[in-house]
Symmetry: D3
């Protein structure tokens, strides 16, 4: 499935402005706008509350307990990118810490999404370098085996192709194929547009039952009220 | 086991004042006072530190990936209620976000306990609307299948009957049957009463071994000290 | 494997100054300096962000749902110690709360590492008494069965001998055998020494590929760049 | 929630013949006939392939690591009963082995469903005494704390009331409230009735798409075929 | 990421003979020959011991709790195919039972790999229809929402493209891209070729240390023998 | 904690006859006789039903994804030994297959206990070479990093010292320190001695309540019968 030992240098990145706008809308809205696909599994959590990032995916495939390719991928980062790191088998080791974060930040990375562990999380939080991971672990890694950079990878159950838009926040991580980014942005923005009005109505005590005209379909479905 | 497609409108709620007082005592004390039963499984966690709530249970049974009945239950909320949401099968989808929270809050809900996922957690934290869930996920849900409101439900391993007192804080969620609420309050308050004195002694260096007279029972049980 | 019903009163503690210095270096650096061994499983997490502790291990072996021996171990604590609590079977009950924390703190304990649950976590956070646990649970425990104090224990997958240095922070918990503490400190300090310089270079945009001279070994390993 | 220290001796058992017939139909069919409720979580597995049992529920609530009440419940077993054992907290200890199985069998028990561990599984398989459990473990238990017999319990996420019909096989365990047993049997038998005909058609190559008239609803739902 | 509501009818299948030969070699050998990629997560287990299958992948993407598309995919099966079923979110429901197995078998399917649950496992074992799944559950599913057939899917952490070779046995499930099938077969057969000779030597007491000439590299790596 | 890169050649093995007799008594009885300690976590399961082994522990510490040291440990096996393999971090890779099993068997090994995965399980079952593991996986491993042989290791939560007696069967794996083996054998045999008589009584319908004289202690503990 995966090519090993290759680095693709020229990838077509998603439009940076579209990615940023999708980031503002947030994962829940973007995921709905996508038709409820593209979400990484919910075990992927931000290492500090309030973490947010959006950008174009630069991917890396790593081996368990080996972070060599994180140094290789660093060189491929352009400002606005998010690094998506997949592992060939389950692993919770701490692949990434404050030195790599300093390097990634210097290259312009918006954040890291890694299906493994990270460490130095206090320092990463101080640096405000956002990371989504499945574990936090002091366990270090070796630098011995080749993986690949910028090939399609499966990260936390989702397929990520280099150049896809990645949106990540407190609710999780969602991937939008580059070709669908503009269309998804429009659908997401449309969803968002009338949320303010809805929120005001609900705050005033209007029920969703009425606002969304649910009473009739509920009755048709057979809902019974018992006093 | 569970009746589907029904909404019980008239439930007998626990005394609101008793519920509030139990809330002040906290889950650990209340759970002890209950005889160490009634606790939801510890995978149920608050979505932000410091979350606290206590109230009378309004229950809802939902299907995996379907939050339709959360709109139905909203109408049944009275000020002081806590919504307890159970699911017919394991699911981590994000059933509840900021719009429903706005509606629940407007109805006077004290919080939500849901054996599934929620989303918009940054906004919920800002709103200080407390939620205990087993997951956080951006994944949305559909509105297609009937469940029920105000039937007894099994939530995170505990049976919850509508009108039970629910106490939730950083240590978890405990359910007190309405009929036992007053008695549990008295037992919990009695436990709490002399905690201040104990704390002062322990802070002064007195050992629990002496304060609780444990040396003799430990010796009888056969404990040996080796120098 | 484990002796039950005994309390060893005289253990040889690690050098307090060495323990403190290892604590300053942090778990990730210490674990690397140890040759990547000695780490507890990453499910052990601090109960509040920023928790840090380092000290000499005082160990206790407990039974599921029974915290009697925590009162016994309290008497054996000397200033600078960290209590390491292992359980004879998997359990998530809340063995430890604010009263025991008050007692442990009064004895000079630096913190607690427990392969089970704790409760009163809001109060523990206010007290700034650091705890690493595998769960948070309001569920209380009984005081009925003898365990042991200051015998070697297996805690979260790691063997801990009384007197070992324990270092714990946001990244996890690492155990350093007393006999290796000084040597590990030297190795860890050496690792740390040139981190500042490295960080500055990376922040200035130098790549790890160049700073660590990785390009040649990567090429030898067969890495191919594709434009 | 749960009364501790009581044994209800007189429970109303489900009709034995109805239970047996439901057992013949199997869990999958019965669960469908119930409207897809009443199933214990799928982590409950038979200890040997081909295990099957059906009967009236006799319930017992146990504490972690304590099997005392299994001796108490043994006396309450009547021929045709299935024992349902719930635990007040998660535990994988081996509560039940060949001696208790000999006793249960002598009393006429059809099997055991326990939300914990069992042991002597080789012997139990030879005896053909069917057990559904969440674990297999050699770890023994003590006899120290009272639980209850024949109170409603939550077992593996399902509420079981004494006298309910329990059906268990290779696919899992389902609970049918006694009051619904006859009606469920009729619905289940109706489902089963035309399965033979369906199976023959499918074996002959007829597609479910045609047999169930799904082509039109699929088209209406928007399904597109691409050549 | 995933297109919903489409069925691709014309896919290019892997060579049937190559698939069969890969199946004879088994997952462990094929996975090694692939360079240790392409394996589904090890939670995917056969429903009975000795299950074996190999064929060309026909894929289907399903929603949680909804098996409608299994009827749609049945029509797309050609003799020699293996159905690979992925779900858009974690689910353990029993999507597949004896009726669908009868239909799949009549169409010539070699087996099913599903990242969810199945039921009627006793009957499936009698039929010798091999299934690899992550759960066994009596819980049925609805037929309400469209997914897709023959699009690339992520199943148990691996990307599967329609027409890939799938090899499954007691050790797990491995996917070989159609384009690599012939080359992988050659590499796998070469691995296998001298296994008989190796086995004979090892059975005669020759050590792997000598047979594989490991003593020198072990010494170079610093291995020390202590008497 | 763990010394890396060393092989201890001279270990003191437990008495082979004692080990064999403990094996006949089985893990449940031995674990009770030990005072309920020494059991590996119950996730360790035999790869085929009916697997049984008992012998003297030869230990090996391995790195994730690296089985090099299994070849080193093979040379240290004497007839009657059981190999106990621990890993420095969680890993489910298939470290061991039919070739290594052939070699281990030729050396006289009674079985393997490994806190990771194994493969070729069909062949291992045919060979009747018993293995207890936490996973089954086709995923192979590399041969790159030194571990150690015959040092104390933590395997599945239990400390194992070379030369300890290991008893393993369908109920799990238990470790008996060599120094306690004879005494444990006597205690276990005593437990076993009157089991036949007990079984006969229970089979005849005598209740454990009466056979163990439990009625009085239950009454004293406050048990109430309600008609």
């Amino acid at each position: 499935m995966a090519e090993l030992g290759v680095v693709y240098r020229n990838i077509v990145r998603a439009d940076r402005d579209v990615a940023a706008k999708l980031g503002t809308l947030g994962t829940a809205t973007v995921h709905e706008a996508m038709g409820r696909v593209g979400l990484l599994k919910p075990y992927m959590r931000p290492i500090y509350p309030g973490a947010r990032a959006a950008g174009s995916a630069v991917t890396v495939l790593l081996h368990p307990g080996d972070n060599w390719m994180l140094h290789v991928v660093a060189e491929q980062i352009l400002p606005g990118d998010i690094v998506i790191a997949a592992i060939t088998a389950d692993c919770t080791d701490g692949y990434f810490g404050d030195l790599l974060a300093t390097s990634f930040k210097a290259r312009g990375a918006q954040g890291l999404v890694i299906d493994a562990g990270v460490r130095d999380v206090s320092v990463l939080a101080e640096m405000q370098f956002p990371v989504w991971s499945k574990a936090i672990s002091a366990k270090g890694t070796v630098k011995a085996t080749l993986g690949s950079v910028n090939i399609p990878v499966v990260c936390a159950g989702a397929l990520v192709t280099p150049g896809d838009v990645v949106v990540a926040d407190d609710d999780g991580v969602v991937v939008v194929p580059a070709a669908l980014a503009q269309k998804t942005l429009e659908a997401a923005a449309a969803r968002e547009a009338n949320e303010g009005e809805k929120r005001a109505k609900l705050a005033a005590g209007v029920l969703g039952l009425d606002m969304y005209n649910m009473r009739e379909p509920l009755q048709k479905a057979g809902l019974k009220y018992i006093d």
